[in-house]
Subunit: 340 residues, 2 copies
Amino acid sequence: MPTSQPIPTLDDVARSAGVSTATVSRCLNTPGQVAKPTMERVMKAVEVLGYTPNFGARSMASKRTHTIGAIIPTMENAIFARGLQAFQEELHKLGYTLLVSSTGYRPEVEEEQVRALVSRGADALLLIGFDRSPETYAYLGKRNVPALVSWAYAPDHSLPSIGFDNRTSMQELAQHVISLGHRDIAVITAVLRGNDRAALRLAGIRDAMEQSGHAFGDLRVIETPYGISHGERALDQLMDGGNRPTVIMCGNDVLAAGALKRAKERGLGVPKDLSITGFDDIELARIVTPALTTVHVPHREMGRKAAQELVSILEKRGAGHSVALETKLMIRDSLSLPSR
Amino acid sequence: MPTSQPIPTLDDVARSAGVSTATVSRCLNTPGQVAKPTMERVMKAVEVLGYTPNFGARSMASKRTHTIGAIIPTMENAIFARGLQAFQEELHKLGYTLLVSSTGYRPEVEEEQVRALVSRGADALLLIGFDRSPETYAYLGKRNVPALVSWAYAPDHSLPSIGFDNRTSMQELAQHVISLGHRDIAVITAVLRGNDRAALRLAGIRDAMEQSGHAFGDLRVIETPYGISHGERALDQLMDGGNRPTVIMCGNDVLAAGALKRAKERGLGVPKDLSITGFDDIELARIVTPALTTVHVPHREMGRKAAQELVSILEKRGAGHSVALETKLMIRDSLSLPSR
DNA sequence: TTGTAGGCGTTATCAG
DNA sequence: CTGATAACGCCTACAA
């Protein structure tokens, strides 16, 4: 039975090393200003007592926490998991800690989460996309919390962003689809409310259609939550109705994978009878058969850059500037000429 | 240009509402003990000033942070992402916040992370598996930090665990494989160092072989990092050598998906020429063609239960008890009788 | 180079 | 039901 030791404090270390608390604090924070022998005595005491500084006290006294908060829709989405992992690794390198919180794609809880992270002392925040309540923006401004938007790019916005242009990226893919001859297009998109990335991708498809000058059947759009099974169901809805599309463009790879799976189960040849496209280029896209034609997004790079920018805003006290990352069309096998 | 307002404190709220700080604190923490009109005045002031309590100060005064830390190998692994998401959702329901940290599968950094989380005031910790340095265990004991192990189950260990028996789960799958007639088995496993889950799964395969009483070719084992591409490479190694296996059992679905992909590229029919099995049953397993025969692990339930147990340990001040979760064999299409 | 002492924003105890 | 007031553990001038 381990004895529940009292947690050692700076004071305990000071006493044990025979110095003042100020000296111990200096050993830990500004090692340069301490004489070597003193330093050694102190570090020894730290070691022996198993001392770890109390974060709350430290942040209260110094007004800085070296903590950065991130609010994402869900970690279960591979793109966020991957970006966040890179974000946290980079943060760690830079001496910061990550505090995560997820909304579960419920935009209405974001403000509460922002407040929670700020109250926990987050020095700055990483947010996904621009679509959020005015109250949240107001709070951020009022508290003067540095914040950076990712997974989106809009240089003229009040918040700096590090990401990519969802609209033109999807537009490029749509142009390619159209150039192949597709005129009956359907879309499976993530839920649009509170999700500007999804909305912009859909807009990109419409842009491409308009600009092509061709005539199209009406664009059927199914809006559905994130998840393979939702992609499967959406495909059924699309194919059970009359006038079937020759191509289904999906808002992300997961929906596309679901649609693809279901299409095959229904005996449809992909891409022979039906073409399907994705977005994101997660590993899943390479693994399914046929491999998904999709848009590659540099999630890891985005996470890394976001961390660097946030820290630079914090330490250089600058305003932060936006960075556009390149996406890339990944031509694979799930898209071909239309079957009819 | 937003004016950078000074951050309001309890004091500001108190002054603005014409009450003492104690009353404001009570309004926020024990609303029952405050008169209605007072309450309203205070909440109004809170609203107007945009007050958010300072976490550091609060935790310092109350000795409790309502924060639980989790240290996982990486969020990029879907099983952890999923479990963690459920963990955080449940925690949120129970009024707690999650602090995450990842080791990137480098066991040597875990102790530092434990200290970091504890110093940040984590009331308790969630850890993955049992394989860690004695120093880490010692620190946990010394500081008396409640900790719970997940993704593993060992009721007789010093730390309570909520998870499943990796060894017998894999053993069951191996028994099934053997019962089908396979005698040339190869294994692709995650790196074993610091990963008892992987080691136990491998042991489970050996158990099944021994207990079957059959004679086997020697068990070739490839140890490789996490990732689809590593699964692909491992398959090449296995199939480029002489005496090819009739089945490859993989330590997780991601490695299996990589192996499967590569096998198909090499023109091998799966399962006709080669059977492949996975472990975890992530969505990927259902999506690939042929669908993976694997072992289903209730990741979400594990995360949820872990959160509940941890909070119960904290609030009932009990020792915590271990819970074994059931895994389930998922018979799908990537495994069949051996081809020879 | 080292020590002293005040203050950071809350909560909790104890009176009223 | 409400108000003083003493911690909580650390940092940082300022002094020595």
